[in-house]
């Protein structure tokens, strides 16, 4: 079933482990979102990115900061 493109907050990371850790942290915090392959428009890399609701950006920034995770890129994309 085709999903309608929507505005999402997309976060990419320097390592796959950081992406997986973010998924754990976001779930623990009850934040909506999921892991996706890094969107081609953001990077030529083939790693994982976090896709969440745009309104969760501030909370996620604080969560990542608290866990010592440095995002590579944080962008709002229609995907």
């Amino acid at each position: 079933m085709l999903r309608k493109p929507q505005l999402r907050l997309v976060i990419t990371f320097h390592t796959t482990a950081e992406a997986l850790r973010t998924e754990q942290l976001a779930r623990a915090a009850g934040l909506e979102g999921r892991l996706i392959p890094v969107p081609r428009q953001l990077s030529a890399g083939c790693g994982l990115a976090w896709s969440g609701a745009p309104e969760t950006e501030k909370t996620l920034r604080l969560t990542l900061e608290g866990a010592g995770i440095q995002a590579e890129q944080m962008a709002q994309l229609t995907i």
């Binding site: 320097h14 997986l20 892991l35 428009q41 990077s43 030529a44 083939c46 790693g47 994982l48």
Partner: protein
């Protein structure tokens, strides 16, 4: 712009057509394009090993790295990076090559063999996916080789330049060894091989074709888009084999293959695990090296050395089957890879 699933499938088909062209114009049976075998042949041509049936500088390898580099430069995606556990990546490259040469092929050749009806390759797929699943488990538990950092722009181009020099020396001088019999003696014309390699490298760079990454992403995200690229390669080669009469559904009598299933499974298990820990299959390592990753270049150099080790110490299999040393080596490689995964995970937890 987001790429549609059909576009990704199309890129795969295009890659498969290039492989079919190479097969039609002379590359060995079921080995139209094999990263492990072609690195092994190139290592042999440079005298890194003395197996006289597998020595030839394969322009496809040079083409893939340079093709990826050119497209990355054009799209402004070239980024010289380094510093993520280079020696470990080198060792992972060595172990990847040992596993691949016990099975007799990298993941790309495994798919080409599957498309020719080689049931041994379908069996090996079990090991490959198992290795990726094990690697995914380590990643889930926190395994990481650490991040890389941007460095001197020219640093990311060293491997490309080295490979171009090797190719130029190969076509202009007689200093490289060339097999007169065996797989190394079978090859498409140099220019065609180079052009197909360049195009394949560009396609792989654009589509992010990765045999390990596609299954890893499926495990973590349930996203099939990267697998579609591989499916495209498979479909194109399946059509070519059926049309050309080279499709034979069997275990026995397949070109440059053996039917020792346990060792095929273990060999590809090692490749899947090593590739997942290193962040990409052998093809992806070539492409990443072209995009400027010195860490990936270390993995590629490890594969060159691994090929030399595999042939100098008789670890590599042949159509007659595996060798005693090869069987011991692949078990040792699997144990070492599991230890690497465990230690890497434990360090993260500390």
């Amino acid at each position: 712009m987001k790429e549609s699933k059909w576009t990704l499938l199309g890129f795969g088909v295009l890659g498969g057509v290039l492989a079919a062209l190479l097969a039609f114009f002379g590359n060995p049976g079921n080995m139209a394009l094999c990263i492990a075998c072609f690195i092994r042949d190139t290592a042999g041509a440079m005298g890194m090993h003395n197996a006289n049936t597998v020595q030839y500088v394969r322009p496809e390898i040079v083409g893939i790295v340079v093709g990826a580099m050119i497209l990355a430069l054009v799209r402004r995606e070239y980024k010289s990076t380094a510093g993520s556990a280079p020696v470990m990546r080198f060792a992972l490259g060595v172990m990847t090559m040992i596993g691949a040469l016990v099975f007799l092929g990298c993941p790309l050749r495994m798919v080409l063999r599957m498309a020719a009806g080689d049931l041994n390759a379908w069996v090996a797929l079990i090991g490959f996916v198992g290795g990726i699943a094990t690697g995914a488990l380590f990643l889930r538990r926190g395994f990481s080789l650490g991040r890389s950092y941007e460095g001197m722009p020219a640093g990311g181009g060293v491997l490309s330049v080295m490979l171009v020099v090797v190719l130029v020396l190969s076509v202009t001088t007689g200093i490289m060894m060339v097999s007169t019999q065996g797989p190394g003696s079978m090859h498409a014309p140099v220019l065609l091989s180079l052009v197909c390699g360049l195009a394949f490298g560009a396609i792989a760079q654009h589509s992010r074709m990765c045999f390990a990454g596609s299954f890893r992403n499926l495990i973590f995200t349930r996203d099939v888009s990267m697998i579609l690229v591989i499916a495209g390669v498979f479909v194109a080669m399946l059509v070519y084999n059926i049309a050309g009469g080279t499709f034979h559904l069997s275990f026995a009598g397949q070109p440059i293959a053996h039917s020792q299933h346990l060792w095929s499974i273990l060999g590809m298990y090692a490749v899947g695990l090593a590739a997942t820990l290193a962040g990409g299959c052998p093809l992806r390592q070539l492409v990443l090296a072209g995009q400027g990753s010195s860490d990936a270049a270390c993995n590629v150099l490890g594969m060159f050395v691994g090929a030399a080790i595999a042939h100098n110490f008789k670890l590599a299999s042949s159509a007659e089957g595996t060798t005693p040393a090869g069987r011991i080596a692949v078990v040792a490689v699997v144990v070492v890879l599991l230890l690497v995964g465990l230690v890497g995970t434990r360090q993260k937890k500390d």
